[in-house]
């Protein structure tokens, strides 16, 4: 059994909790649907977003240079990192040069991907995630289980207990309002004490050299408005060519993510604050390799809204941690194998290929096609586990010989009728582990067709 399936099995053991998770995530999907239906031109917006991203990717190097030029003209420092390690070294270097010991961070999936927090903490820097959900999982020493709602896998009682132990809230308090208030006070003191603020980047505008960061809590705005040093980390794919492109993306992003018409704060940073410094770190970390692959490059258009996670029947029932990667769900299962196909060979199989992810994607990434393409790729690289590779080989032989197909069909009908449950539902039959097999028909379809006098 593969790793994702094993983790999912553990997650599913607590039936009440996994059903609750399923419902909680599905509720967000329903909010997204209502938001979508309030915009009659929704499908047109998706097509525009797809085309803008396709164009930006087709001229990405030019736009990155344009962005860098404009950002530098505004007084920003621009750094380039080939991979996670270089990214971490650059960020640490900036902090070290400024004598920073206390850093506040708003949400950045890129820095999660690069494992920046442990890197900085090992080097003696206090790193505080300021998004409430991220702070919760940070205090628990867990990774986020969702890219938009990092603590979606936790119940309020879990968080109440955590805050009781870590923040000193009274025991037994689990009211979200009271817990949020406690976090507000706790994090205010961190904001006021911080010597630098780090943010992710939702969009980088080539024509202006500016950055857009979207949050609901205001933690990005607050985190970089107090200390004089702002570090912004972005993947190379975050570029949009023009200011007016944001009109398309900001109409899609929050509606797809949480069903809001827009996030509470959509901050636009152009250059540093007066008297401060802005450092922009542009990171490749596998993205240029992905760009080179025509069948997979569309996944670089992702705006990290999380809609494909919320709709995915596998994500909802297996939880974000079962994927073992920073970005879980359908988009994560497409991105992860491009970094390390062997390590993440199971992820493209963590899908029913129902296509719901493709239907909700605001930038029209053909997610379920890419998942299928990755399966082929993984088989071609010889990375399939034996149960899958033997099964596929046997299937190919059976399906390409009519006589064999007929024989196996009648054997199966016979076996399903006569074999005792103890054998049919043994460990040998993975399909029967959590399913009832169908009642076999007396005759094959072909025989029934003949009996009706059809040719």
């Amino acid at each position: 059994m593969n790793e994702h399936a094993q983790n999912a099995t553990v997650f599913l053991r607590d039936e009440a909790r996994s059903a609750w998770h399923d419902n909680a995530v599905w509720w967000v999907r329903q909010k997204r649907d209502r938001a979508q239906h309030s915009v009659p031109e929704w499908e047109e917006l998706r097509s525009l977003a797809q085309r803008i991203k396709a164009h930006a990717l087709s001229r990405l190097a030019d736009y990155l240079e344009e962005f860098e030029r404009n950002a530098r003209a505004l007084g920003a420092h621009v750094h380039w990192a080939r991979n996670a390690d270089e990214h971490n070294r650059i960020v640490h270097g900036i902090l070290r040069d400024h004598g920073v010991q206390r850093l506040v961070k708003s949400k950045s999936m890129l820095t999660e991907e690069c494992h920046l927090n442990p890197y900085l903490i090992e080097r003696g820097i206090e790193v505080v995630d300021t998004d409430l959900g991220e702070r919760i999982v940070q205090l628990l020493r867990e990774p986020p289980s969702h890219i938009v709602m990092p603590a979606i896998h936790l119940k309020k009682e879990d968080i109440g207990e955590l805050f009781h132990v870590q923040l000193g809230t009274p025991k037994g308090v689990s009211d979200p309002k009271a817990l949020t208030e406690a976090a507000r006070h706790h994090l205010r003191s961190k904001f006021l004490a911080a010597q630098a603020g780090l943010t992710g980047v939702n969009f980088a505008i080539a024509e202006t050299g500016g950055l857009v960061v979207c949050t609901n809590e205001g933690n990005a705005d607050l985190g970089v408005a107090l200390p004089p040093l702002h570090i912004a980390c972005m993947g190379v794919e975050k570029i949009v060519p023009r200011q007016q492109d944001l009109g398309v993306f900001l109409r899609l992003l929050a509606r797809s993510a949480t069903g809001q018409s827009i996030t509470t704060y959509s901050a636009h940073f152009h250059g540093p604050r007066p008297g401060g410094e802005l450092h922009i770190v542009i990171v490749d970390h596998g993205r240029s390799k992905l760009l080179a692959r025509s069948e997979f490059r569309r996944s670089l258009s992702c705006i990290r809204c999380g809609a494909c996670l919320n709709t995915c029947p596998v994500y909802r029932r297996s939880g974000g941690h079962s994927y073992g990667v920073t970005v879980p769900g359908p988009i994560g299962s497409v991105l992860a194998p491009s970094i390390d196909a062997e390590k993440h060979a199971a992820l493209p199989f963590a899908s029913s290929l129902c296509g719901s992810c493709t239907d909700v994607c605001p930038v029209r990434i053909d997610l379920h096609h890419q998942l299928l393409a990755w399966r082929g790729e993984i088989a071609a690289q010889g990375l399939l586990p034996p149960d899958k590779s033997i099964g596929a080989r046997v299937g190919r032989i059976v399906l390409s010989h009519t006589w064999l197909y007929r024989m196996v069909g009648s054997l199966a009908r016979f076996a399903l009728r006569v074999l005792p449950r103890g054998i049919l539902y043994s460990r040998l039959n993975a399909w029967g582990l959590s399913r009832e097999l169908p009642v076999p028909p007396a005759k094959s379809f072909r025989a029934q067709w003949r009996a009706r006098g059809k040719p």
Partner: protein
């Protein structure tokens, strides 16, 4: 500069075939008949409050808000409700005790209740996220239909900071329960001035 060149070269070598950039000039979302009514509705939907008023009544309306919030320390760059001397604050941190921030908005977006604010005239932009409550004052003539129109009209301060603010600070990170007042303002009142 090695990394920069390496990355740009790798990207150039990987470049997909050309794809045209769509023309967005003049694009609009579905039109709202009454922009002010739609804006009011949108602000309420995001947990804020919209007050329709005129130039003459604005000072009184602002005072009434400050009173109802029991705001003692006011940080304002709107002349109709003067507050503390902001220029006396050398660093933004000392503004942490502000109860109510009052700022002018340059644009108001009917489809989502967002108001465009900038740091123009504001020594410390931290003010608007640090303050416990937020009031934004926008002329009704600055209403736009949607984000396409907003980005057509807005002048991004370069260098500088600008933000679309839609309602009070909020989070739903604990069991998806919406809680108003995460890190920023606990309430957001928009005055739409005739």
């Amino acid at each position: 500069m090695g990394s920069r060149e390496d990355i740009l070269r790798a990207i150039r070598e990987a470049s997909p075939p050309p794809a045209p950039l769509p023309d967005l000039n003049g694009r609009r979302g579905q039109k709202s008949g009454d922009l002010a009514a739609q804006f009011t509705l949108s602000v309420e939907e995001v947990g804020g409050r919209c007050v329709r008023t005129d130039e003459a009544s604005l000072p009184e309306e602002l005072r009434a808000l400050a009173q109802s919030l029991e705001a003692k320390i006011i940080g304002s760059i709107v002349p109709q409700l003067p507050g503390i001397d902001l220029s006396a604050h050398v660093i933004p941190h000392t503004l942490a005790g502000v109860d109510l921030a009052v700022l002018p908005g340059e644009l108001a977006v009917a489809e989502n209740g967002a108001v465009w604010i900038t740091e123009a005239g504001l020594k410390h932009r931290a003010l608007f996220v640090l303050a416990q409550h937020l009031a934004l004052v926008v002329p009704v003539s600055r209403l736009v239909n949607d984000m396409h129109e907003a980005y057509e009209k807005v002048r991004l301060p370069r260098p500088g900071y600008g933000c679309f603010v839609s309602g009070p600070s909020k989070t739903a990170d604990i069991e998806q329960s919406l809680v108003i007042g995460a890190h920023g303002a606990r309430s957001c009142t928009v005055f739409l001035v005739e």
